[in-house]
């Protein structure tokens, strides 16, 4: 076990060092690349902390999709930065504040009971009634399904907000070359399989709608990059439907089961598993579509042309 502790300490130090390096990097591109590395290292740390589901989600969404979003924005704004620098007294003051807050939190953390109380007993006792065998999936889609519905709503709200920030059409970017197109042709189907597998695996082992959705979202981002798919104004209705499907099915099922003696979100025992799988499948597709739309960053329509004409 000691060897693993050495590894843990090294990884923990690497995390702290990387976090500092991300924010101290001169070049923004380098900062984003370091940030993606940081995300993957975080995922590794979470595997060590027996949280493989979260590690998958962090690697796929926290590092992968977020990294793609950051790089796309970096290219769009051309790396322009404000040249403002923070005056030294402010730097010292904020540094002292951050140090005080962090050490206060550290003291609170050290004083907290190690391996303290939790809900694992309650989860285990009710797992049979939840309809799925994997505890994290049971929490996400049954015990705390209300939170998960609202989390999908947050994604939906983000698309509405991003679309509402009207944007001019982007300057055309050069294609990435023949190798990229060839790669996309092989990788797309493979990644679709991986995404579907993660979704399917979620009922019994680490994986699930969010991880699967993120991989499928990455597929869509890849397709956008390779110009295998070009969003057109005519596709708007479909896109809207894809964003909404997850929230709509989830909300309707949640409310639909809530009549008579049952509460909202209280699936009938016999139907629990099929209903959860249905919700997960649709939510996966919605997450994929939403993440791709967030990457694309604007509504595919001639709204930008209007903006151009107005000035």
């Amino acid at each position: 076990m000691d060897a693993m502790l050495v590894f843990d300490v090294a990884l923990a130090l690497a995390l702290v060092g990387l976090a500092w390096a991300v924010l101290a990097a001169e070049d923004l591109f380098a900062a984003v690349v370091l940030f993606i590395v940081f995300g993957l290292m975080t995922a590794l740390a979470w595997v060590r902390l027996a949280a493989p589901d979260v590690a998958l989600a962090e690697a796929a969404i926290g590092a992968g999709v977020t990294g793609a979003l950051l790089l796309a924005t970096l290219r769009r704004i051309g790396g322009a930065e404000s040249a403002e620098t923070t005056p030294r007294p402010v730097l010292i003051g904020v540094g002292a504040l951050a140090a005080a807050v962090t050490s206060g939190l550290g003291a609170a953390f050290l004083a907290a009971p190690a391996q303290g109380p939790g809900l694992e007993a309650a989860i285990a006792a009710n797992l049979a009634a939840s309809g799925v065998e994997h505890p994290v999936t049971a929490v996400l889609l049954n015990y705390r399904a209300y939170d998960t519905l609202m989390e999908v709503v947050v994604l939906f709200a983000a698309v509405v907000a991003v679309w509402s920030v009207a944007q001019a059409p982007e300057p055309a970017t050069p294609l990435l070359g023949p190798l990229h197109a060839g790669f996309a042709r092989v990788a797309l189907p493979a990644a679709v399989v991986v995404g579907a597998y993660l979704l399917w695996a979620g009922a019994t082992m680490p994986g699930g709608a969010f991880q699967g959705g993120a991989v499928l979202g990455a597929v869509a981002i890849l397709a956008l990059l390779a110009r295998d798919y070009v969003p057109a104004p005519a596709h708007r209705a479909w896109a809207r439907g894809a964003f909404l499907a997850g929230t709509a099915v989830f909300a309707l099922v949640a409310a639909g089961v809530g009549f008579g003696p049952r509460m909202a979100f209280e699936y009938p025992p016999a139907l629990a598993k099929p209903l959860i799988l249905l919700i997960e499948a649709v939510v996966t597709l919605s997450i994929a579509a939403t993440l791709a739309a967030l990457f694309f960053g604007r509504e595919p329509e001639p709204l930008g042309v209007e903006v151009e004409a107005r000035k």
Partner: protein, 97 residues
């Protein structure tokens, strides 16, 4: 010494670095990065709260909470990045005349 202690402290340190930089960096894209690091650091606290010494399985509730947190964070970041992009476009238009 156990993994939860090591990573808990590392997570708090990451939070501190992110917090400090989020309040002192001027470039918006860097502030987004700092805030994401801050959130990752805060998530460590929940992951550590779920950790149990190996033969015992970990508590799944904080895991689900952190997955939710990751999705919420990517949404907020996407909105921030869209705003940053739009601001850059408008500023370029203004300086071009």
């Amino acid at each position: 010494m156990s993994p939860d202690l090591i990573y808990g402290l590392a997570g708090l340190a990451v939070f501190g670095i992110g917090f400090f930089r989020a309040l002192t960096l001027a470039a918006p894209l860097r502030r987004v990065l700092a805030l994401k690091l801050c959130a990752v650091g805060a998530s460590f606290l929940l992951i550590v709260a779920a950790y149990r010494q190996p033969p015992v399985t970990a508590d799944a509730v904080p895991h689900a909470l952190v997955i939710t947190g990751i999705v919420v964070m990517v949404s907020a970041m996407a909105v921030a990045l869209a705003l940053i992009h739009r601001i850059a476009v408008l500023e370029r238009e203004r300086s071009d005349g």
